[in-house]
Structures are given as structure tokens and as C-alpha cells.
């Protein structure tokens, strides 16, 4: 019964992703609040997409703000898979309709140079495995119509991931204050979302450590070369056709996303 429901939800989400047509929430066909079932939907699609040739490039962490966790009635973040085809280069035009219902978040990306496969990972393991940080814009999206999501919907939908844009000047962790760094996401020169490093679970490294441990638990450990989008440093910003947005993160520089009209 649940097995069939998981398969149906996974297929519906995949179809929405392929056709660009949003679907109703999937939570009603799955056990209420069942996070495990939601991840089962996500991993079914992960297997499918890897089998069809999509190359995983890392992970994203979602629900890293206390306010958003409260809104969705959860007490921990969630994760989704990043694929190489989700990467957009700095400032490159993003075609209309490439992401369903796009919104933007400014984040810190961490790039690993060592595998994180040990049981009982520590913060020091994470710092030692991190090559550098980059500023990032995550273009989130939802295959669920009107973003009518609860926790089960967003996890099943690969954590509402869409695209990501990375800055291009790597900064090592000893050169940046990850907790206090200011963030300003700007449109036409005006801040539309502001925040700081600690808005992401108190420190982006806290979120990344949660992810690294979780990935060991679920048998998909983080590997050298993986990109981690650690989570939003301020509120999600709406996107309209034609918008160009720029994320500035103190100590990390800036990165841009341009949306076709």
C-alpha cells in the first residue's frame, strides 16, 4: 500500500519536473508527517535520475532557519540532491520555465576535498575536509502547485531544489567569519533579503555537520568534490521574470542570477 503510494508520488513529481506542470500536494497519499516515507519518495527519484545519467554534484540543506522549521512543524533540517545540470554559471540567463515557481536564497557553499565517510563525524573532520567556501544563490522551486507544501511534500520533492549559482573566488575557512558574515540579496540595488551567517542553524558549519552525519547514516556519504549548499542566510526572495538578483556575502564576494523576461 505505502510502497505503491511512494512509487506514485515519485512518478508524479518526476512528471511535473519533466513537463513543467505543477501537481497537487503529495502528502495526502502518504502517511501524515511520515518523513521516512518522504525520503523514500526522494531516493526513488534519485535512483531513477542517476540511472538515466544525471550526475550528482553535492547536496543542499533546507529548513535551516528556526522560523521555517516552526512553520513546517519540524525540529530538524532536510536535504536534497544537487545535480550537475542544476548548476548555472555566474550571471548567466536562466530561461523562463526552467524552474517551476522560482524563488531565491543567498547561501554559503562549501566544497569538500576529502570524503566524510566515518561514523561519528566531528566538526574537526568537517573543517579538515572542506577545501573552501563560495557565495551561492540557490534558486529553489516547487513542483507542488502554489508552494502548498508541508514537510512530506518538500522532502519528497528533492527539498524543493531548482538551480544553483556559485561565486568564483574560493575562500578558505580561516579567512571568513562564517557566523557573523553579513548577507544582502539585492534587486536593482535594493536589499530584498538580508541576514548573516548565524541565521543558518547558528552557523553554516552546524548545518553541514548535520548533513555529513545524516549522509553517513543513510549510506550516501559526502565525497571529495561535493558541493554543499548549507542553507539560507535570510528570508526567501520572490522572483519575477526579468529579475537580476545579486547576493553579497561579507568576506566571500558576490554572485548573480539573471532570469529571462
Amino acid at each position: 500500500m505505502t510502497e505503491a503510494a511512494i512509487e506514485t508520488a515519485a512518478r508524479d513529481i518526476r512528471t511535473a519536473w519533466e513537463t513543467g506542470k505543477a501537481i497537487p500536494a503529495v502528502r495526502d497519499s502518504l502517511p501524515a508527517g511520515d518523513v521516512a516515507a518522504a525520503y523514500a519518495v526522494q531516493s526513488r527519484n534519485t535512483r531513477h535520475w542517476i540511472a538515466t545519467g544525471r550526475r550528482p554534484s553535492g547536496r543542499k540543506i533546507g529548513l535551516t532557519a528556526k522560523a521555517v522549521q516552526k512553520q513546517l512543524g519540524v525540529d530538524q533540517p532536510d536535504y536534497g540532491i544537487l545535480y550537475a545540470d542544476m548548476e548555472v554559471v555566474d550571471g548567466d540567463e536562466i530561461a523562463a520555465g526552467r524552474v517551476l515557481q522560482p524563488r531565491a536564497e543567498a547561501e554559503i557553499a562549501l566544497v569538500l576535498e576529502k570524503d566524510l565517510t566515518d561514523r561519528q563525524l566531528t566538526l574537526i573532520d568537517l573543517i579538515a575536509a572542506t577545501a573552501y567556501a563560495l557565495p551561492a544563490i540557490e534558486v529553489v522551486g516547487s513542483r507542488i502547485a502554489n508552494w502548498d507544501i508541508k514537510i512530506v511534500d518538500t522532502i519528497a520533492d528533492n527539498a524543493s531544489s531548482g538551480l544553483y549559482v556559485l561565486g568564483t573566488s574560493p575562500v578558505t575557512l580561516d579567512r571568513i567569519d562564517l557566523r557573523l558574515c553579513g548577507m544582502s540579496l539585492e534587486k536593482k540595488g535594493e536589499p530584498v533579503s538580508v541576514g548573516a551567517g548565524l541565521a543558518c542553524l547558528g552557523n553554516p558549519l552546524n548545518a553541514a555537520l548535520w548533513l555529513a552525519r545524516k549522509m553517513v547514516d543513510v549510506g550516501m556519504p559526502l565525497k571529495a568534490g561535493d558541493t554543499i549548499l548549507t542553507g539560507a542566510l535570510g528570508p526567501m526572495a520572490p522572483i519575477a521574470p526579468g529579475d537580476v538578483i545579486e547576493a553579497r556575502i561579507s568576506g566571500l564576494g558576490s554572485v548573480r542570477a539573471a532570469f529571462a523576461a
Binding site: 567569519d177 557573523l180 553579513g182 548577507m183 538580508v194 548573516a196 551567517g197 548565524l198 553579497r248
Partner: protein, 256 residues
């Protein structure tokens, strides 16, 4: 024509006795220039009692504040020495109606600033910059007011605390800011929220004070405006504001 002298007296007494009053606009129509005239008169009363003018504050400089207050204009107010709370000091809760705190940055001027002035000229007149907090305490019931009401009420200003001064030689446009109550973050933001860059607030301060025919004076402190929504103070709470690269400033609210 609003009764400027009477309104100033009403607001001054409300502040002195920490008593909330009805909005002026409920029973007397003020224009914006009249509201600023009330503010000037109100501060004149305080100076006549021996207080000393030490600077000015900018208000509604962040989108979050404009949304919180339902307004869309910059406002300003006048600071006196009686409003100073020492860094690390105690705020006497009973002296306020319903105080809130805002994380800000403060500028100390080494030269007067008239108008017109460029951003570069404004920065050159800055002796030092510091992490700061403003205590805002509307004298109106329920913190509800029109633009004219709040301007007449010295733009809600009632206290300020300034941390260690330092040279303004770094990039001030995007400093992370966190306001903590008892060590826990309650507001997180960036100096970018202050008009995109706090120096723009200083330029706007020069313009607004020029229009009021006083200008900005050497030695004055300019509070650049809140970077986040304001947070309501509670008795006994320890409040700290940390600014990336600038350090921190703190005070404690008295128990009652």
C-alpha cells in the same frame, strides 16, 4: 493649525512620567512640518531643563521597520545627553512606557556636515563608527501612530547605547548584525538593510537637518537607523548587539 506648544507639552509630560497617551492625530490635525515643529519645541523644553544636545537619529531606514510600522518615509529625531545609557549599563525599565531595542551603527562626526554633501564627503567627516543600539519608546498607546504622530514624538527616540568607537576605514556596506537577549539571537540582519549602506543614512541625515536649518555639528553622534525590526524589552533581560568587525555593545534591563 495645530497647537504646537500644547502638543509638545503633552508629549514631553508623557515621556517624563512614562505614560502612554492617545495619538495626537485622533483629535488634532498636524502637517508634517508642524510635527517637526512640535519635536523642536519638545526638545527645546528638555534643553531648558538642562539637557544637552548630543546628536540625531534616523528612523525607518530599513524595509523591515517600514513594514513593521506601516510607514514609507524616513524620519529623524534629536538626541540629548539624558538619553545616554552607558555601554554595559542598566536601563531602568520603569522609566519607559513600552520600550523596544533596535540594532544600529553610530557615527561620530569630527566636522560639521551641511548640504549638499556626497557620500565620500560624509565619510570623510566621520571620526569613528561603533556598534550601537537605540531604545525606542513611543509615547502612544499600543505603539500605534501616524507619520506626523511619530515625528512629533521625537521619532520614538528615548535612549541609546554606543559601543567602542573605531576608525571607519573598513567596508561598512554589509556587516552581519545579531541582537541577542540573554545570549540567544532574537534578530539577525546586515548593515545593508540600512538604506543599502549606512553612509547613505548619514547623507540623508545631513539633508534632513539642513532642511531643519540646523545641520549636523562636529562632535555629534548620528544613529544611522535600525537594521532589523525592533524587539520588545523585558525586565531583567541582558541585551547585546554584535556587529561583524566592529565588536559589541550591551546593557541590562532592570528587574522592575
Amino acid at each position: 493649525m495645530a497647537n504646537v506648544v500644547k502638543i509638545a507639552e503633552t508629549l514631553d509630560n508623557a515621556a517624563r512620567h512614562a505614560e502612554a497617551i492617545e495619538q495626537i492625530s485622533n483629535y488634532d490635525k498636524m502637517t508634517l512640518p508642524e510635527a517637526y515643529e512640535v519635536q523642536r519645541t519638545l526638545i527645546r523644553r528638555r534643553l531648558d531643563r538642562g539637557e544637552k544636545r548630543v546628536g540625531m537619529k534616523m528612523g525607518f531606514t530599513s524595509r523591515a521597520k517600514m513594514v513593521q510600522m506601516g510607514l514609507s518615509d524616513l524620519v529623524w529625531g534629536r538626541l540629548t545627553d539624558q538619553m545616554v545609557i552607558e555601554d554595559g549599563g542598566v536601563l531602568a525599565f520603569k522609566n519607559y512606557v513600552h520600550p523596544r531595542v533596535e540594532p544600529e551603527v553610530a557615527f561620530l562626526l569630527k566636522r560639521p556636515l551641511g548640504w549638499p554633501v556626497t557620500g565620500a564627503e560624509a565619510l570623510a567627516a566621520v571620526e569613528a563608527v561603533a556598534p550601537a543600539m537605540e531604545i525606542i519608546d513611543s509615547r502612544y498607546k499600543n505603539f500605534k501612530f501616524s507619520l506626523e504622530d511619530v515625528v512629533a514624538d521625537n521619532s520614538s527616540s528615548s535612549g541609546f547605547v554606543v559601543g567602542p568607537w573605531q576608525k571607519a576605514d573598513g567596508d561598512l556596506t554589509n556587516l552581519g548584525m545579531v541582537l541577542e537577549f540573554d545570549g540567544r539571537p532574537v534578530q539577525i540582519g546586515s548593515s545593508a538593510a540600512i538604506l543599502g549602506n549606512p553612509i547613505r543614512s548619514l547623507v540623508a541625515a545631513a539633508r534632513l537637518t539642513h532642511e531643519a536649518e540646523e545641520g549636523l555639528q562636529a562632535g555629534w553622534i548620528v544613529m544611522a537607523g535600525g537594521a532589523t525590526a525592533a524587539e520588545a524589552l523585558k525586565p531583567g533581560v541582558h541585551v547585546r548587539h554584535i556587529v561583524e568587525t566592529l565588536g559589541f555593545v550591551s546593557f541590562t534591563v532592570s528587574a522592575g
